[in-house]
Subunit: 344 residues, 2 copies
DNA sequence: CGCTAACATGGTAGCGCTACCATCACGAAT
DNA sequence: ATTCGTGATGGTAGCGCTACCATGTTAGCG
C-alpha cells in the first residue's frame, strides 16, 4: 500500500516547468491574481504586482502561451501566407509586417504556398486551428474551399499586393496600371517594337495583369504586343535566357519590357556580355525597383513599388481593427513610381 | 424564467466553431475515437474512420490545434531565430528549413533579433511558451539568460551558420578558414596590399571571424592587414562607399577582400562607374556566392556557402532527433568552395 | 472450453490558463 | 446610517483536446 493518494501515482503529464499556480504560491496570492499581475497590471495593486514579478524570477516561470490561448480563445498569432520566399519582393513585405506586428507583441506564422492554391487552403486550415488573430495573404485569388473557410471567419483578413474585390481589407497597387505606365514610357521614348517577357505567368498572375496593361497601351497605339513566357521563375539566369529568346524570335525588337527586375537585370548584364549597347541596340525595362537594378550601369528603368511600406500599412490597418478602431478605408492604394534610368 | 438550464445562460466562451465532440456525435462515435481517426488512423477501424472523416466534412470541422497542443504538451512548432531578414543569406537558410519542416507537418515560428542578443532571449522565452518541438538559431553566441533558458530545455536545439562549442546540435561552416582560403588565393594571385572591408562587424561577428582568418594569412606572410569598418549593414551602396574609403585611406591598395557579396558587388559596379579596371587597377573578392556576383562582368571571385543545403541538413538532423533516431554527428561541417571569378 | 492476446472503443481526468462572477473593504454621496 | 461605486482579490468552471486506463469483443491456441 502506497503512502501516496492512489490517484497521485499517475505520473505528471505536461511539462516539468513551473506553472502560474506555483508562482502564485510563492508570492502568496491566488493564481488569478498572478495572472493579472502579468497580463493586466493596472488591475492589481502595485505592491502585489512587484511580489508576483519577483516570484516569477525566483521560480523561473515561463508562461504557457498555449494554455493561455486556449482559455482566452485567442492567440497573438498573425498568419502570413506568401507564394514564395525566393522572391525578394515578398521578403520585404514580410519584413514590413513583421516589424510592425512584433512591436505590438504579435507573432507571425509564416506559410509558403509555392504558388499553389491548394497548399494555401491547407495552410489556412492549419492557421485557423491556431486561433490566429488575423490573416494576411498575398493576392486576391484563392481556391473555392479557401474562400469558404475565410468567409466564415470573424477575424480581420488582409489581402496585400494587388487591388480589387477583396474579402475584407486590401492594401496594394494597381498592376494593370503599372504595366500601362511603363509601356507608355517606352512609346514616349520612341520604341515601337516592344516584347514583353514574363516568367511562369500562369502562376505569377500579377505579372500577367501588368502584361494586360502593357498590351492595352500597345493596341491603342495600333502596335503588336508579342509575349515570351519563360517556364522558370524570375532570376538573373532566366532574364539572360529571355533576352536570347526575344532576339531570336523577334529580331527587330527595340525594347523589352520584363515582368520584374530580376529578369531585366539578368538581361541587362547578359547584353553587356554579348557586346550589345543598352539602350541603343536594345532597351530594357523592369518592375519592382530592387536596389540591384539601380546599381548596374546603365541603371535600369523600372517601376518602384513600396514593398516594405505596403507591409507596414497592411499591418497598421489590421492592428487598428484588432484595437476596435474604425478602419477608414478597407482598400488602400499604395501606388508606385516610374523610375526612369539609363536603360531605356 | 428561462426555459434553458440556468447555468446555460452563461454565454458560450471559445469560438463558435464545431468541436470534435460534435464531429463524434455526427459520426455516432465517442470524441476520443474521432480524435484517433484523425491523428492515429491505424488505431481505428477503417469503416469507422471513413464515417468520422465524412462527418468532419459535413460539419465543417477545423481542429483546434491550441487545445491539442495543451493536452499533449507539444505543438508542431519549430522556432527559428535569425538576426536579420534583410540579408539574403538567412532567407535561403530559412527556405531550406521551411521546405524540410513543412513537408513533415511542422510549422515554423520565425523570430528576428535584429542582431540584438536581448531580443533573442525574449524570443526564446516566447517560443518556449509555445511548447515548440525544437529551436533553430543562427549563431553560437547568446546572452547569459538565453543560454540558461535553453540549457534547462529538453528539446532539440540546433545552432546553424558557424561551427564551434554548441549547446546541442550544430550545422555550419568554418568562417575563419573561409577567410584564410580567400586571402591565400589573393596572395597566390600576387596581390600584397590587401584591405579587408566589413560592415557592422561588432554585430556580424561571423564577418569578424573571417577577418581573423584573413589576418592570420597576411601576418604569416609578413604583410599588414588594414581593416575598414563601415557603420551600416551590407548593401550595394555600402560596398561603393567601402571602395571609396579604401582607395582614399590606402591609395596603394591592390585588392579588397569584402566581408560579403553585397559589399563586393556594390564596389565592383562602382569601380566600373569610376572607370577603374577590375582586376587590373583593383581586385575585388566577396563571400557567399550570391547569384548576383556571378552575373556581373567581370564575375566576382567569392566563396560559395551552401545556404539552402545548410538549412535542409539542419532540419534533417532535428527531425531525426524528433523521430528518436540516433544522431550520428552532433556537429556537421557543410563546407564551402572557393569560386574564382574574373575580379581577382 | 477456458485462457490469452490483439483489436476496437469508451470514460474520465486533466493540460495551464483566463472569463466570469462573487466577495470584501473602504470612502464618497445621499 | 444607508447606499453606491470602486478597487483589489479570490473561487470556479470551463477552453477543446489527448493521455491514461478500463472495458468489451473477437480470434487463436493448447
Amino acid at each position: 500500500m502506497s503512502n501516496q493518494d492512489p490517484n497521485r501515482t499517475r505520473r505528471r503529464r505536461g511539462s516539468a516547468r513551473p506553472t502560474l499556480k506555483e508562482v502564485a504560491a510563492a508570492a502568496g496570492v491566488s493564481s488569478i491574481t498572478a495572472s493579472r499581475a502579468l497580463n493586466a497590471p493596472e488591475r492589481v495593486n502595485e505592491e502585489t504586482r512587484k511580489r508576483v514579478l519577483e516570484a516569477v524570477d525566483r521560480v523561473g516561470y515561463v508562461p504557457n502561451l498555449v494554455a493561455g490561448s486556449l482559455a482566452s480563445a485567442r492567440s497573438r498569432f498573425i498568419a502570413v501566407i506568401v507564394p514564395s520566399l525566393a522572391n525578394a519582393v515578398f521578403i520585404e513585405v514580410i519584413k514590413g509586417l513583421q516589424d510592425t506586428f512584433e512591436a505590438r507583441g504579435y507573432q507571425i506564422l509564416l506559410g509558403n504556398t509555392d504558388y499553389d492554391l491548394q497548399r494555401e487552403q491547407q495552410l489556412v486550415r492549419t492557421f485557423l486551428g491556431w486561433s490566429c488573430s488575423a490573416l494576411v495573404t498575398a493576392g486576391l485569388r484563392h481556391s473555392e474551399g479557401c474562400s469558404a473557410l475565410l468567409s466564415n471567419w470573424d477575424k480581420p483578413i488582409m489581402e496585400v499586393m494587388e487591388l480589387g474585390e477583396a474579402l475584407d481589407l486590401n492594401v496594394g497597387l494597381d498592376h494593370e496600371e503599372a504595366g500601362r505606365c511603363m509601356t507608355r514610357h517606352l512609346l514616349e521614348r520612341g520604341y515601337s517594337s516592344i516584347v514583353y517577357v514574363g516568367a511562369c505567368m500562369d502562376r505569377d498572375y500579377r505579372a500577367h495583369m501588368r502584361f494586360w496593361g502593357h498590351r492595352q497601351v500597345l493596341e491603342a497605339a495600333g502596335l503588336a504586343a508579342p509575349l515570351i513566357e519563360l517556364d522558370r521563375l524570375g532570376s538573373l539566369e532566366a532574364g539572360a535566357a529571355g533576352l536570347d529568346r526575344a532576339l531570336a524570335e523577334f529580331p527587330d525588337t527595340q525594347a523589352i519590357h520584363f515582368a520584374n527586375d530580376d529578369l531585366a537585370t539578368g538581361a541587362l548584364l547578359h547584353a553587356q556580355r554579348l557586346g550589345l549597347r543598352v539602350p541603343e541596340d536594345i532597351a530594357i525595362a523592369g518592375f519592382n525597383g530592387l536596389p540591384l537594378g539601380q546599381h548596374v550601369t546603365p541603371s535600369l528603368t523600372t517601376i518602384q513599388s513600396p514593398r516594405e511600406a505596403m507591409g507596414r500599412q497592411a499591418a497598421e490597418q489590421v492592428l487598428r481593427r484588432l484595437d476596435h478602431q474604425p478602419v477608414t478605408r478597407r482598400q488602400q492604394d499604395v501606388g508606385f513610381q516610374l523610375l526612369v534610368g539609363q536603360s531605356t
